[in-house]
Every structure is written in structure tokens, then in C-alpha cells.
Amino acid sequence: MFNKRKPSQVPHDAEKDAFQPHLHSRHRAGRVWLLVFQVSTLIGIVALSALLYNVANAAFGYAAIENKVDPASLSINGIPLEQLHPLDLTYILQEHVSEGLFRKFAREKPMEEYSREEIYDLVMRWVVQPQVVETWTLFDSLAHRDEIMRQAAEKYPQARIFFRSWLTSQFLTTPQSSKPEFAGVRTAILGSLWTILITLLFAFPVGVGAAIYLEEYTIDTPLNRIIQTNINNLAGVPSIIYGILGLAIFVRLLEPLTSGALFGYVKDATTANGRTILSAGLTLGLLILPLIIINAQEAIRAVPGSLRQASLGLGATRWQTIWHHVLPSALPGILTGAILAVSRAVGETAPLVVVGASTFITFDPDGPFSKFTTLPIQIYQWTARPQAEFRNIAAAAILVLLALLLTLNASAVLLRNRFSRRL
């Protein structure tokens, strides 16, 4: 410690003597602030862990499943259901479901063309009809395993009790269903991907173009300052307002365009009302447009002026300067902004509700003019249902959404690093 030094060694005057008494309180203030920062970080980590714990708690755990019809009772000549010939399965199906429903299966394609697995699925779904009667959280499943087993055996003597993950490959590949055991997120994932594709195709070029114009071509006039202020303010407008805008413009006003009617692309009468992926994508595009513009402007502004001067001084045109020097240097920053904007768009629910996302569709979106649902819409729908099992699949869908976001971000970061490594 410096204050061990004898005072006599250092020449002191009255003003300098204030140094030592202050030193202690200065260090103390530093320690207090450090503590504040550490606590802030800790709160953030705790909140994030709580979120993940909550989701994981619902997405995995014990479930008791009761079959409406015991599969053992369906076996023929002692051969269990899983090993029966397709013809026998078809016979069982025909015996147990209503005539109308069986005709419906046959209408989709002739019964002979169904594969064994498909018929088996139909039998499970419509004859055996397994039903989740109770689920337990991951925490309970791990901590009170024996008690759950005992309780379940008492309450549901018929039920099968097993540990299950609600996030399965089947969950990813099957479309929506009214029964939670059979519901999946396939349509929602495809809907989200389609929507994001349209959003990016619209917002990225328009946003970067506007940023280039604002940064490289305009000069500082009152009009431009008003435009700039407005763009900044638009970035803070609540997303539901963009939904209303999208409803008014894309769904209603531009209906012939967004429904595909203009291109003669109308599958059936119910689709042709503008509530399509195109409308949703454009609405989200409007939503993230200010974000992309602002981020791209920042990135372009960060390109040193000396680079522009070097290029212009060689006799390059303004456009050659932008294309060969400004944009390559700004690209990593522009991409970072686009990543953040897309992450926001992927998670948006409110504007899509207004624009008219379907809450229940079972067919895949096949282009910009189809009806759609997205992952956040699906999650929102499921969490609003009274049955507990829907909350389990909602948790699984949240995991899918998080994974989708991380994948999008990771690929964008890789892309960005590739670009910035080029000298």
C-alpha cells in the first residue's frame, strides 16, 4: 500500500492531504458499482434460466396414456396388432369406424395404396385412440418418480405410464390436429419459413437500398432530416399497428395481388381473400424495414470516408465506389442488422393475427398464395386451450421456435464471418 510510506517522504501541502481520505471512498464507490453490475447480470441469467426451466418442464415428463380400445383385444389369432397384415388392419379399421369416415379414407386414395404404416396409424388414431389422461412436469418426474407411479396406478389402472418427450420427430413432421397426441408443427414451421423468405426478399433489398440512398446520395436538408426522424420513430411503432396496416393495404386493398387472383392462381374460393403468406410476409417486411434501414445506415456510416475519397480520387463514379468499396466494407454490419431484424420477425404474433393467420390448417403451405400459420401463432393457440396436454405441445413448439431462431442466427453469423474474412 502506498499510504504505508511515511508522510515526511512526500512533500505535502493542505490540498494534497485531501487525497488520502478520499481514496478510500473512491475505491468503495467502485466496489459498490461493480456489485450493481454483477447483480444485474445475475438477474438476467436467472430470468433466462427460469424461462428455459419452464419450457423444459412442460416439454418432457411422465405421461399416463389410456387406450379407448385395448390393442390386445384387436389381435387376430394371437398375432399382435403391430405385426398384422395390412388387409387385416384394413378389416379392423372398417369394423370399428363409421362408414362415412371409412369412405373418407378411401376417397383420399384407394385402400390398397395405403402403406402398412399408414393403415397402422389410422387404426391407432381412430380405433385404439390413445388418450393422454395426465402429465407430470419434468421436475416432478425426476424428483418424485415412485410417487407418480403409485398415484397413476391407483387412478388409471388401464393406463400406460412412461416418460415421454413431447418434442419428437413425429411432432416435427405431422400437421396440426385437434388431438394433442397427434398434433405437430409441420405446417407452422413451413409457414414460418415461407413468411420469413418473403419478408427478407422484400425488406432486405428495399431497406439496404434506402440506406444507401440516405447515406451516400442525400445531403443534410430539413426534408431529409424529417425523413430520418420518421424512420427512427417507425422502428418503435407497436407491431399490432403494422398488422392493421397490413390488413388494410395487403389483405384488403391489394387483395387481387396478394391472393394470387391477378396471376390466375386461385386454388379454391376460400383462399382468395388476401390472407396469404404473401400478405403476412409483406406486413412483417414493413415491420422490420425501419430496423434494416437504420442498421444498414449505421454500417455504411462506419465505412471510413478515406476509402470513398481513394476511390473517387481514382476517377470512379459514385456507384462504383459504393458497389466496390462501401458495400463490401459495410456488409458484415448490414447482415448483423438483418439478422436481428429477422429474429424479431420470426417471433412476431400480433400483426399476423390481425392479417389473418389461420389457427387451424392441416395442409402444407405450397407458395406465397396459400393460407398459413406460423410457429408463434400455433404456440399462442395451444397455450389458450383448456386441456393440459396442449400446454405440453406448446412447450415443445417453443423449443422448435428457439431452435429455428438459433439456426437462422447461426447461419447468418457464419455467412457474415465469411464476408468479413475476405480481407
Binding site: R308, A310, G313, G315, S329, L423
Partner: protein
């Protein structure tokens, strides 16, 4: 402006009654001077007297700053650079520039040199042009084995010579240098100065410098600039042989400045 105009005219530039404004602020006033072909002309003077502004008037770099206005004429081979039918792109193509801070492109050394020629539609052997330009800039031996490395990987002095090579590759008639050595160490500065002596065989050079010893060492003619009048705009107060400026200047202010009593 056509190539055919290159004449026996010993003066590359002839500046007539030049005034330069930034919005309402007059930065340079009443400049008249002629710059001789294949000579090095230095522009010296205290900070903020409009040296760089004057230099940038020679290739119309000033107008990149919004609000800049130029009055008067800058004749280049008898053609006024500020005539309405003159394209600034062509002006900068024929009058190259080297800046104060080395500013190579964040591209390979090869690309740095080749890019300017390529955008102007150079049809010849690009490898040969790159080698010739780098040799002219006295950089070839240092970089010939690493042409694909980034221009930014070079040292400051090498970067500045790369910038000179880049300017030469476009094959201009004049090279303007805006304090080309002020960001460099003495050894790198010396190399740049030697290079300038080499380059004046083929090019006309105008150089702005803060360093009076440098002006005395490298230049043939020197223009002394100073803020004058009520408007405090910069103008050339004395323009003559470098030897004369530094040994027997006519103007008292020049004498004070070059002897270090002022500025």
C-alpha cells in the same frame, strides 16, 4: 478534353482568379498561379490557410463536400476544369491524388493497383501494368512475393507507396499529393521524397506540405499561402522558385514563416 490537346504548353495548370467557398465561408480567395509541367510544385503555409482546398480544386475533389462553390477558372491544358461540359470523373482520371493518410483499399495489393485501371476499361496486360506501377512506386521488390495479401498488411510507408502505385496505374498526367508523408516516420518520408524525384520525369506533381524542409528538399517551385484581408480567406502571397522562397523571399510574412518566426 481530348488527349490531342497535350501541347508544348509548359504549364499544366493555369489558375485564374480562383475563389472557393464552403457555403458562405470564403476559404480561398483570388488565387492566380501557373504550374509547370514535369516539375514539383509545393504549397506551404500555416494550418487552415486553404492549402488542401486549393490542391483539391485541381481535380475537383472539393465538390464532394456539400455546399462547396468555386468561382474563377482552373485551366488544364487550356481547358477550364469547371466548364459545364467537363465530367469530374474524367478530371480525376487524368489528375490523380495521394492523400495525407495512407488509404489502400481493403483488398489485395494486386487489386489495389489494378482496380483503378480496370474500372476505366484498361485493355492491356494487367499483370504487366501492376508490376510497372509498383516498380515506379519503388515497391515492387518488397511486395512481389505477396501480391495476393491485403494492402492493409503493409507498413505505413509501404501503404503510402502502394497508394502512389495505385494512382500511377491509372496513368494520369498530374499527381496531387496532400501531405503525403505527414503520417510517416523519417525513413519512410525519405523514400517518398526520393520517389517524387523519380516520378517528376513522367508526371507533374503538386504537393501540399507542412514540413518546410521537405518543401525545400523536393520542390522546384513553392507557393506560400496565408490568410489575408478582412474575410480571413487564404491566398497565395508569394510564388516563385523554391530557392528564392527559402533564401530571399520578397514578402515579409513569407520570411517570418520560413524562418520559423511565425506559423
Amino acid at each position: 478534353m481530348s488527349q490531342a490537346v497535350i501541347s508544348k504548353n509548359p504549364y499544366v495548370f493555369e489558375v485564374r482568379d480562383l475563389n472557393i467557398f464552403y457555403d458562405d465561408f470564403k476559404a480561398v480567395t483570388d488565387v492566380n498561379l501557373k504550374i509547370e509541367r514535369n516539375k514539383i510544385t509545393a504549397i506551404i503555409g500555416p494550418s487552415g490557410c486553404g492549402k488542401s482546398t486549393l490542391l483539391r480544386a485541381f481535380n475537383r475533389m472539393n465538390e464532394l463536400v456539400p455546399g462547396t462553390r468555386v468561382e474563377g477558372e482552373v485551366l488544364f491544358d487550356s481547358q477550364n476544369l469547371y466548364a459545364p461540359d467537363v465530367d469530374p470523373i474524367e478530371v480525376r482520371y487524368r489528375i490523380g491524388m495521394v492523400f495525407q493518410k495512407p488509404n489502400p483499399f481493403p483488398k489485395s495489393i494486386y487489386e489495389n493497383v489494378a482496380w483503378g485501371a480496370r474500372i476505366h476499361g484498361y485493355q492491356g496486360d494487367m499483370d504487366e501494368l501492376v508490376e510497372r506501377s509498383l516498380r515506379s512506386a519503388a515497391l515492387w521488390d518488397e511486395v512481389k512475393d505477396k501480391l495476393d495479401q491485403s494492402g492493409l498488411s503493409l507498413s505505413g510507408g509501404q501503404q503510402q507507396r502502394l497508394c502512389i502505385a495505385r494512382a500511377i496505374a491509372v496513368e494520369p498526367e498530374v499527381i496531387l499529393m496532400d501531405e503525403p508523408a505527414s503520417a510517416l516516420d523519417p525513413i519512410a518520408t525519405l523514400k517518398i521524397e526520393e520517389l517524387m524525384q523519380e516520378l517528376k520525369k513522367d508526371y507533374t506533381i503538386a504537393v501540399v506540405t507542412h514540413n518546410m524542409q521537405q518543401a525545400a528538399r523536393v520542390s522546384d517551385y513553392t507557393a506560400m499561402m496565408m490568410l489575408t484581408g478582412d474575410s480571413r480567406a487564404g491566398t497565395v502571397i508569394e510564388y516563385t522558385d523554391t530557392k528564392v522562397i527559402f533564401t530571399m523571399p520578397k514578402d515579409k510574412r513569407t520570411e517570418d514563416y520560413v524562418t520559423g518566426r511565425f506559423g
